[in-house]
Symmetry: C2
Subunit: 192 residues, 2 copies
């Protein structure tokens, strides 16, 4: 769920600093953290305060996460899933055919789907976790998206973005079939 060991901030800081060709003095002045502290943090000799790490993150102009979630896996992926190997869900009675594009190797907070709507079919989704967003690209046919009280009808080439932490539906409208590319992004942040 979370990293198994406390993050090794030092190496991350050092790497990012080097990438930006900064010296300890430069970063010290830009971040407001003493040069001595930076040296010790990079050498993993101390256990810095969150305020200090935050200042350093600002100095490096990166997100706090970049320093905390240690240097990720360097594995270089190249994965192809042929159309016939893609698992297809035919969930509900009047629902669309859902092809789950995102394989296991993908980032766990992103999911890709290809939805195929038969005439009259509707995808009815309950609220997801707070902060979750969906991105729709209409490939073929037309659909009507309803989220909360907002609603819009999309035709091929249209794009929609919305928070899906409320009940929302995607309904096929018109004749023929419709195809929609959907990206679901799970944000880790909790509610407000």
């Amino acid at each position: 769920m979370e990293p198994a060991k406390p993050p090794m901030i030092g190496q991350n800081i050092k790497r990012l600093r080097k990438e930006q060709q900064m010296t300890l003095d430069m970063l010290s002045e830009k971040s407001g953290v003493s040069k001595a502290m930076l040296s010790q943090i990079e050498a993993q000799k101390v256990n810095p305060t969150v305020a200090t790490v935050w200042k350093i993150a600002r100095g490096l102009e990166v997100e706090l996460d970049s320093l905390l979630h240690g240097g990720g896996s360097p594995v270089r992926k190249f994965s192809v899933t042929k159309s016939r190997e893609i698992t297809t869900l035919d969930t509900s009675e009047h629902g669309p055919h859902i092809r789950v594009l995102s394989p296991i190797e993908m980032a766990e907070d992103l999911e890709l789907y290809l939805l195929t709507f038969d005439p009259g079919s509707v995808l009815d989704s309950d609220a997801h976790a707070p902060g979750t967003e969906e991105y729709l690209t209409v490939i073929e046919g037309s659909v009507t998206v309803t989220v909360g009280e907002k609603q819009s009808t999309l035709t091929p080439g249209d794009f929609a973005l919305y928070n899906c932490d409320v009940h929302h539906t995607i309904a096929h409208t018109g004749s023929g079939s419709a195809q929609v590319h959907m990206v679901v992004r799970f944000t880790r942040r909790q509610w407000a």
Copy 2:
């Protein structure tokens, strides 16, 4: 880019602890952080160490980010971009038509494109930042993806995932035109 003020961890911890109906003693035992420390952190009276906050995160069984990125903004988005409003790039001579789907309101580490390839056109991309990944969904026609020494030819419905921190190309193969949905994900994590 990053939060404008240092995160207020105390309130987040208190909220999450209450949500789980835990007492200071419980969380203290579960996390290994003294009850006194927890009390002071929640009262914003001290500036905890990252190691301490990390222990607390484990005790609460949440990601470190949940405690740091203060309770995010509760803005609920609903944005639709019609096909004709989408900006189209016709970059290079033999390149595809690139429609930039992702609008401004989107997360800054994700970009969506819809690529239309005329016969013989090729998208030639230099290496992106380390850790960046691309997700391709072939809508129509067939394309050949080359990243490093790996290569694969995709037909409609196929899906490809790869790290694009090296030179990579997407080439149209066959006759007629091809259409590809592309997601670019910028991972903040750097290499190892």
